[in-house]
């Protein structure tokens, strides 16, 4: 992995001194060129993973993390991209395998991939109103209408939050003891259901 060339060719790139693999923060504008450089000149021919993430301590709320693998050089490289205005260029044209990963990152975080060939949700159904992996989305879920409108019309069913004790649970982050996911209302149990 030739870090010097990557840094000199894309001056906005930051070396994050990754502990387990070379890690860089790449500007969104440079992403396609940087991935192409890594693929064609450095041998990183396999996109191992692409995922979204929500960062608490960065100016942009969301970011995308790419892990590229060189099957010949037997090494990984990690690229961080900040999603400015929740937007990141799509790398699906360079690595077709990114197509589904990017759909998932959009589904889970609402990150928009510019130039994506098929920008739909993938795990949740079309028309689902939320992005569940965002930190402010409760663990139990939020009540939404049933995706099958004809069934809902007859049964009156909705998609209900998970039957957890109390809730809502929100991912705490940090120390467990300070933000342990526990029920807000502890007054009821399985034997004594909530009124």
């Amino acid at each position: 992995m030739d870090a010097a060339t990557l840094l000199s060719r894309f001056p906005a790139t930051q070396d994050l001194a990754g502990k387990d693999m070379p890690t860089f923060r790449v500007a969104g504008a440079d992403l396609l060129a940087a991935v192409r450089f890594l693929r064609d000149e450095q041998g990183f021919d396999l996109l191992a993973d692409l995922c979204g993430a929500e960062w608490p301590d960065r100016p942009t709320r969301f970011g995308v993390v790419l892990h590229l693998l060189s099957t010949a050089g037997k090494e990984y490289v990690r690229l961080h991209v900040d999603a400015v205005d929740d937007r990141v260029p799509s790398v699906a044209a360079l690595h077709p395998g990114a197509n589904w990963h990017e759909r998932e990152a959009f589904d889970m975080f609402g990150i928009v991939f510019e130039g994506h060939p098929d920008p739909r949700r993938i795990l949740m159904w079309d028309g689902y109103p939320f992005h569940p992996l965002r930190k402010d989305f409760p663990l139990a879920g939020i009540e939404v209408p049933l995706p099958a409108a004809d069934v809902a019309a007859v049964t009156g069913q909705t998609v209900e939050p998970a039957p957890m004790m109390g809730g809502p649970f929100v991912s705490p982050g940090g120390k467990l003891s300070e933000g342990e996911p526990s029920a807000l209302d502890q007054s009821w149990t399985e034997q004594h259901p909530k009124a």
């Binding site: 077709p96 993938i122 569940p132 940090g174 467990l176």
Partner: protein
């Protein structure tokens, strides 16, 4: 008899536009025996030729990544069972290794050897099922009975080792739940003798079986370039001629000590994917035998990692220090340094990756699961069109995926 009109070939050619029917849209799944779980394929058909294939996934989505952010590292181990639920032991090991990489923890040789044994037995179990149902989908019912018989024996061994046949939850961060039972290795060795015979039998039943060949040879070939572009790993990549195997190329848990070959295909068609899995079975048996023969003694968990692995129960009940350690670990979780780590293990279905982001403490800030089945299925829109509807059963069987891991 009076001939009213002679139909010539020219007439048919002229009317070919009229004869052309409409394309038909067909939903295959989400509850269909060939889709191996809740996968739905939205197909567009011209006659019985597939024109377009759009996989619809997410029916088994449980939000594992969200759940992981709300519990300690050890509490998530049972959830990893339910990723690739045909090889839970291998998932347990991959997850534990990822978190241990974050902690920078080194494990004693016995623990590493036990984990290699787990991974390879899980691979045998997964491939036996994969080949069995693949054969069943292409019309060979007997093979399924043979392989399931062996798989049951394997599950009995798993039960003795972990206490559960299916959802094993065997690893903990920094070790495993318990040491090997007495005399268990001998039973594993005896199982190896039996399974090799079954593999030979399956080989005789399938490898030169005319029907099986007709249904798999030359169907849906994936070139090496295409496999890499779509990020395929594991047997699916190697059937296409890629040689990458994490056990050889990025050895973990002491895989470098064992001798084994990595089978590689040439054409990347459905038949090559079958052949690669058959040979992987034999190589896994070879590794299992080596581990059984060289199983080191000593500790089976990281004894010095006091903030990560639970102390022995006897000491918890009698010693103050261990009691406090046990209490802290259960309530706060194993303490991890802040940082990010990505680790992939060579699972039966391909590379299972975990990207763990920690802000310190006992709960992951973000846990991303890269499921090989998700990646394997993403290639379907590229390889299915142009094949017949009946070929889909072969293609799905040959990709050997699990929806639990795809939808997470």
């Amino acid at each position: 008899m009076k001939i009213t009109k002679e139909i010539s070939l020219g007439d048919v050619a002229a009317r070919s536009e009229q004869l052309r029917g409409e394309n038909m849209t067909l939903n295959m799944g989400p509850s269909h025996p060939a889709t191996h779980g809740v996968l739905r394929l939205s197909l567009e058909l011209d006659g019985d030729k597939v024109v377009k294939c759009d996989p619809v996934i997410g029916y088994l989505h449980r939000g594992d990544e969200k759940i992981a952010e709300n519990m300690t590292y050890n509490q998530f181990v049972p959830y990893t069972d339910r990723l690739d639920y045909l090889a839970p032991l291998a998932n347990n090991v991959a997850y534990a290794l990822a978190v241990e990489k974050l902690a920078g923890l080194r494990l004693p040789p016995r623990c590493e050897a036990i984990r290699v044994l787990c991974c390879e037995m899980a691979r045998i179990s997964s491939h036996l099922l994969g080949i069995g149902v693949y054969a069943m989908d292409t019309g060979a019912w007997t093979v399924f009975m043979y392989t399931f018989n062996e798989r049951e024996k394997l599950y009995t061994l798993f039960e003795e080792l972990t206490g559960a046949r299916f959802t094993t939850s065997y690893t903990r961060i920094g070790g495993v739940t318990r040491d090997l039972p007495e005399g268990w290795l001998k039973k594993v060795d005896a199982f190896c003798d039996g399974v090799l015979k079954t593999i030979d039998e399956v080989d005789k039943l399938l490898t030169r079986n005319g029907i099986f060949l007709e249904r798999t040879e030359g169907i849906a070939p994936i070139s090496k370039e295409m496999a890499l572009a779509y990020g395929l790993t594991g047997p699916n990549l190697r059937a296409s001629g890629g040689t990458f195997d994490l056990r050889k190329d990025k050895p973990y848990s002491g895989y470098e000590q064992y001798e084994f070959d990595v089978p590689v295909g040439t054409k990347g068609d459905c038949f090559d994917r079958y052949l690669v899995r058959m040979e992987e079975l034999r190589q896994s048996v070879r590794i299992v035998r080596q581990v059984v023969k060289t199983m080191p003694g000593g500790a089976w968990y990281a004894e010095d990692a006091k903030k990560i692995f639970l102390p022995p129960k006897a000491k918890v009940m009698t010693k103050m220090e261990e009691l406090i350690q046990n209490f802290m670990l259960v309530t706060e979780g194993p303490q991890m340094p802040a940082g990010e780590v990505y680790f992939e293990a060579e699972n039966p279905k391909g590379a299972l990756g975990f990207y763990v982001v920690s802000q310190g403490g006992g709960v992951p800030y973000r846990l991303r699961i890269r499921g090989p089945s998700f990646v394997s299925l993403s290639i379907l829109p590229a390889i299915v069109p142009g094949n017949f509807l009946t070929d889909i059963a072969s293609i799905l069987g040959s990709l050997d995926f699990v929806m639990g891991e795809c939808d997470r």
